[in-house]
Amino acid sequence: MVAQTRPMDPLLDRARQVVDTVPDPELPMLSIGELGMVRSVQWSETGRLRVALTPTYSGCPATEWIRDRVTEALTEHGFTDLEVWFDRSEAWTTDWIRPEGLEKLRASGISPPRPSLTVVGTSQRSVERIVECPLCASSDTERLAEHGSTPCKALYRCKTCLEPFDHFKCH
C-alpha cells in the first residue's frame, strides 16, 4: 500500500486548477499561477473554499481585479461558498515565477527577471546586471529608463539588434 500524503480530493484539485489558470490582466499571456501569486487553495473547517493570493507589488492596481476574477471563475465552476484573501506574510518575489512563466515572458518580448541572488543595492550608481535581449539573446544591452509600461518593468534597448524591450525587474 502506498502511503498518501493527502487524501484524494478531485473537487479541490479542480478548484486549484481553476484558480491557477486565471490570467494576469497586465501580462495576459501568464496565469496568476505561473506568476507565483497563488499561495494556497484549501477547505476551511466549515467547508468553505479559501484561496490565498500574494499581491506582486504594494501598489499593483490589478490586485482587486484579480481577486474578483478568481471569485468569478470559481463561481462559474460551481464553487459558491468561497473566500479569496491576501496573504502578505511573505513578500512576493520574482523568484516565484515558474520556469514556464519565465519562458512565456521571453517569448512575448519581455526579458524575464533573473534569480535575485543579491538584494537590490542602493549604494552603487546603478546596479550592474546582465539583461539579455529577448529578441536576439545579446547581452549587450542598456537601460533607458528605470520604469516601463507597468510598475514591474524597466525599459531597455539592445545594442546589437537595436530594438527596445521591456525587462521584468527582479524583485
Binding site: 499581491p55 507589488y57 504594494s58 501598489g59 499593483c60 492596481p61 502578505r88 506574510s89 511573505e90 513578500a91 512576493w92 538584494v119 537590490v120 543595492g121 542602493t122 549604494s123 550608481r125 546603478s126 546596479v127 533607458l144 529608463a145 528605470e146 520604469h147 516601463g148 510598475p151 525599459l155 525587474k169 524583485h171
Partner: protein, 249 residues
C-alpha cells in the same frame, strides 16, 4: 505578540499618501516621458504602501472605513512629516525630497521587517524592495543634476538647502513613538540615522553639492501643525470623496 498603535500606523500611512499625491502631480508635467512614468510609478508604490497601512489602521480602529481615513479627515488630523507635503517646485526639489525620504524609509522598512507586529512585518517585507528602487532613482538624478550644468547644480543645491531643515522630523521621538519602541514595534530612529546620513552625504558629495551645516530643524507635522501647502494638496486629494460622498470606483 505586540500590536502597533493605530496612531503610529496612521503617521506612516499619511507620509506615504501625501508624498504619493505629490508625485502624481507630475503627471503631464514631468520633463520627459520616462520621468513622468517613473514619478507616477514611485507614487503608485507609495500609494500602495499607504493603502496597506490604512487598511491595517482601520482594522486596529475596529473597522473604520479606510477611505474615510485617507480622504475625509481634516488638515490637522493628518500626521505626516512636513517634508512630504513640500510643494514640487521644480524637478530638483522633487528629486531631493525623494532622496531625503527614501534614504530614510529604506533602512526603516528594513528594520520594520523584524517588528514585533506581524502585519507591519508583512507590509515592510514588500515595501523595502520598492524603497530600494526609490533610493536608486533619486540618487541617480541627484548625481545627474548636481554634477550637471551650472544651472542644474545651482537649482538642486537650492533644493537641498531649503529641504534640509525638514529632515529632522523623520527622526523625532515623542511619547507615542517611545511606546512603540518599547513594545519593539518600531525601531529607534537613532539606529536609522547613520545609514540615512551615509546615503545622503555620499550622494550629495558625489554630486558635487554642499552638505548643509544647518542644525535647526522644522517640526509640527506629527502633531498636525502643517505648512499652508497641505491644505491645497488636500483640496485636490479629497475632491472626489467630498463631492460624491462614499463613491467607489
Amino acid at each position: 505578540m505586540a500590536q502597533a498603535d493605530s496612531k503610529f500606523v496612521l503617521r506612516l500611512a499619511d507620509d506615504h499618501l501625501i508624498l504619493g499625491q505629490r508625485l502624481a502631480e507630475w503627471c503631464g508635467h514631468a520633463p520627459t516621458l520616462e520621468e513622468e512614468l517613473s514619478h507616477a510609478n514611485i507614487g503608485l508604490d507609495l500609494l500602495g504602501q499607504a493603502r496597506n497601512l490604512f487598511a491595517y489602521a482601520s482594522q486596529l480602529l475596529g473597522g473604520t472605513d479606510e477611505d474615510r481615513l485617507a480622504f475625509l479627515r481634516l488638515e490637522h488630523e493628518y500626521k505626516n512629516v512636513l517634508l512630504v507635503e513640500f510643494p514640487n517646485e521644480d524637478f530638483g526639489y522633487s528629486v531631493i525630497r525623494q532622496l531625503f525620504f527614501s534614504a530614510f524609509m529604506h533602512p526603516y522598512w528594513q528594520a520594520l521587517t523584524s517588528s514585533a507586529d506581524a502585519e507591519l512585518r508583512a507590509i515592510a517585507g514588500q515595501a523595502v524592495k520598492e524603497a530600494a528602487y526609490h533610493v536608486r532613482h533619486s540618487r541617480e538624478w541627484t548625481l545627474r543634476l548636481g554634477d550637471g550644468t551650472e544651472e542644474s547644480r545651482q537649482r538642486v543645491q537650492t533644493a537641498v538647502d531649503d529641504l534640509w531643515s525638514f529632515t529632522g522630523e523623520l527622526f523625532e521621538v515623542d511619547d507615542l513613538y517611545r511606546q512603540m519602541m518599547e513594545a519593539q514595534v518600531a525601531p529607534d530612529p537613532v539606529s536609522i540615522a547613520p545609514t540615512w546620513r551615509e546615503t545622503v552625504v555620499a550622494t550629495l558629495e558625489e554630486a558635487t553639492l554642499q552638505v548643509p551645516t544647518e542644525t535647526w530643524m522644522q517640526t509640527g507635522g506629527r502633531v498636525g501643525r502643517h505648512t499652508e501647502a497641505l491644505g491645497h494638496l488636500l483640496t485636490e486629494l479629497q475632491y472626489m470623496q467630498r463631492a460624491y460622498p462614499d463613491m467607489a470606483w
